[in-house]
């Protein structure tokens, strides 16, 4: 008999973990798929350079206690197949995994906006730098500049500092008024306020943005603009984050509705497909607390524990208010669209400069003419950039949803045609 679970959860970050634990006492067969070697997602990424927070440790221990939860780490989803099955791939092989209910907790990725020098070695995403440090990258004694927008900059600065780096500057593009207003409201969320105090940074500047990364072979300095002034900061690392882009590809491929760039869900985290739920940042940015409660609601709802799911709605409403304030306070300044110069690369897989895209009137035409988005990342980075810079909508995702070995794709020989969009609820 082929492998099939009552509840299959894709993504083992806060939302996926909370969902698995919420659903666990149903006794049903639950599996948690994640392409990282260990659960935790981006925020609780494990590695040699990590001491996991208590909450993350408790979640992992709880996961291990439940015999009905199967953890499939190092496993990527490649395609949707027929009969409620997904084609997945791990380091050794590909196979089809079936589900009765599917929960998407596929998270979000960083929006990396192009500016002159952004492809120099030493320049990473803000979350990317955290991941590298957690993975064991030594940064002790290095000078670091962090730029972009949102609380992730402070989290990234804290990680770098804890690892012994010297954070010269945190350049936040939002205005002082917006950030101060947000900070004042933090009092409504005591947990967050404590976190924010812990992240206090002497180098924090508002209304500041990176203009260029300078260097020949690798990063040597960063040019920051603040109001009418520019400062040049010699440094070894620059970490940039301009917010997060929901990972909606699998949901879109299944036929879920996408609204404002995120998977659309109802009160109980159901998508328009009766058997598919979604929770966490693939349904919109909101931070780990919102992901945890959304995951728990989805986990309960997916196994039919509707009352327990509904009991969590007030808590979710509270964190959604927080998310809305976050989004308002750190809205991106349209001036960021002017950062790239004509020769600034937008697609780094295929070396496509800004000038090769600017004249086009849509993603498909630009892609065909320039090869933008045709490389190994398949537009995950530059597609979001083109969306921000030019307002283009990328095409609907096709299989393979991520690069996959040809022999993995051969597993689809045994399948029938998928029903194009599943079964809508209404």
């Amino acid at each position: 008999m082929s492998e099939r679970y009552d509840l299959l959860i894709v993504g083992a970050g806060p939302a996926g973990l909370a969902a698995a634990l919420a659903a666990a006492d149903s006794g049903l067969a639950i599996a948690l798929i994640d392409d990282n070697p260990a659960p935790g997602g981006q925020i609780w990424r494990d590695g040699p350079g990590v001491r996991l927070p208590a909450r993350a440790r408790r979640q992992r221990e709880a996961l291990a206690r439940h015999a009905n939860i199967t953890l499939l780490s190092g496993t990527r989803v490649v395609a949707c197949a027929d009969d409620r099955r997904l084609l997945v791939e791990d380091a050794d092989s590909g196979r089809l995994i079936g589900y009765r209910k599917l929960l998407l907790c596929t998270g979000a990725r960083e929006l990396l906006l192009p500016f002159p020098g952004w492809t120099l070695p030493g320049v990473t995403g803000a979350g990317g730098l955290q991941a590298l440090i957690k993975g064991g990258l030594p940064v002790r004694g290095e000078r670091v500049v962090i730029a972009g927008s949102g609380p992730l900059l402070l989290a990234s600065a804290a990680t770098a500092q804890k690892a012994g780096a010297q954070v010269l500057r945190v350049a936040e593009q939002a205005s002082h008024a917006a950030v101060a207003g947000f900070a004042a409201r933090l009092l409504q969320w005591p947990g967050k306020a404590v976190q924010a105090l812990g992240l206090h940074q002497p180098g924090y500047r508002c209304n500041a943005r990176v203009v260029a990364a300078l260097g020949s072979e690798r990063l040597e300095a960063v040019l920051i603009q603040r109001g009418g002034r520019r400062e040049e900061l010699p440094c070894e690392r620059l970490a940039c984050g301009f917010g997060l882009v929901p990972n909606t590809q699998l949901g879109e491929a299944l036929g879920c509705e996408v609204r404002a760039g995120a998977l659309a869900v109802d009160d109980l985290q159901r998508t328009r497909l009766a058997e598919v739920f979604a929770a966490g940042e693939c349904t919109g940015f909101g931070g780990s607390e919102l992901s945890l409660v959304e995951g728990a609601i989805a986990g309960h709802a997916a196994v039919g524990q509707t009352a327990r799911a509904e009991a969590l709605l007030p808590e979710r409403a509270r964190w959604r208010r927080f998310a809305r304030q976050l989004a308002r306070s750190f809205a991106l300044d349209p001036a960021l669209k002017d950062l790239p110069r004509p020769d600034t690369l937008v697609c780094r897989c295929e070396d496509v400069p800004y000038s090769a895209l600017a004249g086009h009137d849509g993603w498909v035409g630009a892609k065909l003419a320039s090869r933008c988005g045709m490389g190994a990342c398949q537009g995950r980075v530059c597609g979001a950039v083109a969306g921000y810079l030019f307002g283009w909508t990328p095409t609907r995702p096709r299989l393979p949803l991520s690069p996959a070995r040809v022999d993995t794709l051969l597993c689809l020989e045994e399948t029938a045609l998928p029903s194009a969009t599943g079964e809508p609820v209404e």
Partner: protein, 379 residues
């Protein structure tokens, strides 16, 4: 009048026709609705096919033209004269290879038969036990979207482009779906599978195909590899079929094809069909199984009942010219198509007989004299 000629479709056929007519001094307006067609979806394989003498003549002549043009094409067109290898899987197919060798040599084309050992030395990634292959030296590859762009721009200002969807063509008037009316004495349909929307009597059907491209693995394959079963099974079958077709791109990536399905207009990648196609390719090149595929997509070939394109004036709609129905061979045969169309339009003797491609063979006899532009009209 908005132009001497309006061409509907800016794919490789429309672009080649625009280039040829502009070169002859006509003012050309090219319309495209950006739905995309076979030019954007195909492999860009320049391949001489010989299902019949007309197909061989058109493809051989055109490939020669591409070789000449390649000297002037930009890097983005990615032209390579890498040659094709027709793979024989058994002794019967080896006999087919020998027959093909004879046909192509008689047409004056450079080709040679490789035995089992020579084939292994030439393409070591192929599986053991293949008895041999036919190498066709003149075949090549290019990146068709950029080749079309190059053709539309190299002639300067005689070619104008406009985005818009054509709703109807009535005599010399082209009506767009936004109500705009454009006029020209000659209108050329070069919009592939979409042509029957504007000329419902065209016997053109979409034939769906799949392609997959791998990550970069430079140096593994040098020729475009096609199984000879392509000719005997895939190309002529009416049901869904697959054939091994592996093409090295200048980036080091590999294109893997090909599949054929009638009776569907769904552009979704069909997992089982894709897998069947990949299995066929892995049968010939076992190492392919361990390579990463990064993207798969589909496209629709505009297929005519006899596999040859329709090139010439519509027999009952004076002024409406056709350059459609090229199936999987449009990129290869765009130059010859444009020359045949132009020769008929200017009342000249074409470079080779135009009869096999005339629309009359499906649409019935002509009831009016052919529209033509006297040669001196060219400026």
């Amino acid at each position: 009048m908005n132009a001497d000629v309006i061409i509907v479709g800016s794919g490789i056929i429309g672009a080649a026709c625009a280039d040829e007519l502009a070169r002859r001094g006509l003012e050309v307006l090219v319309l495209d609705d950006r739905r995309g067609g076979a030019t954007a979806a195909g492999m860009g394989h320049l391949v001489a096919l010989d299902d019949n003498p007309a197909e061989l003549k058109l493809s051989d002549h055109s490939i020669g033209r591409w070789r000449e043009w390649a000297r002037d094409m930009d890097q983005g067109c990615a032209y390579r004269n890498n040659g094709s290898l027709w793979l024989a899987a058994n002794e019967q197919e080896m006999a087919v290879a020998e027959a093909k060798l004879k046909t192509l040599r008689e047409a004056g084309m450079a080709c040679e038969l490789l035995g089992a050992e020579a084939l292994r030395a030439t393409e070591p990634e192929l599986r053991d036990g293949l008895p041999g292959a036919l190498k066709v030296a003149g075949d090549g590859i290019l990146y068709a979207p950029n080749a079309a762009r190059w053709l539309l721009t190299r002639g300067g200002r005689r070619i104008a482009e406009r985005q818009g969807r054509v709703a109807a063509i009535e005599a010399d008037e082209v009506r767009l779906d936004d109500g705009t009316r454009l006029r020209a004495p000659v209108v050329v349909l070069a919009n592939g599978i979409h042509a029957p929307e504007l000329a419902p009597d065209l016997p053109i059907e979409p034939k769906k195909g799949h392609l997959l491209i791998t990550d970069r693995y430079p140096g593994r394959v040098s020729h475009t590899l096609i199984e000879l079963g392509y000719v005997t099974s895939a190309h002529n079958a009416s049901g869904p079929s697959v054939a091994c077709n592996i093409q090295p791109r200048p980036t080091g990536q590999l294109f893997i094809g090909s599949s054929r399905q009638f009776g569907t207009s769904d552009p979704a990648v069909d997992g089982p069909m894709l897998a069947r196609m990949l299995r066929r390719a892995v049968d010939y090149m076992p190492g392919l199984a361990k390579l990463n595929g990064i993207r798969a997509w589909t496209g629709f070939r505009a297929a005519s009942p006899d596999g040859l394109p329709l090139i010439g004036e519509h027999p009952r709609r004076p002024g409406l010219w056709l350059a459609v129905g090229h199936e999987g061979l449009g990129v290869t045969t765009a130059p010859g198509t444009a020359e045949l169309l132009a020769a008929q339009l200017f009342g000249e003797t074409p470079p080779f007989a135009a009869e096999p491609y005339l629309p009359e063979r499906f649409l019935g006899a002509r009831d009016a004299q052919r529209t033509s532009i006297p040669s001196e009209a060219g400026r």
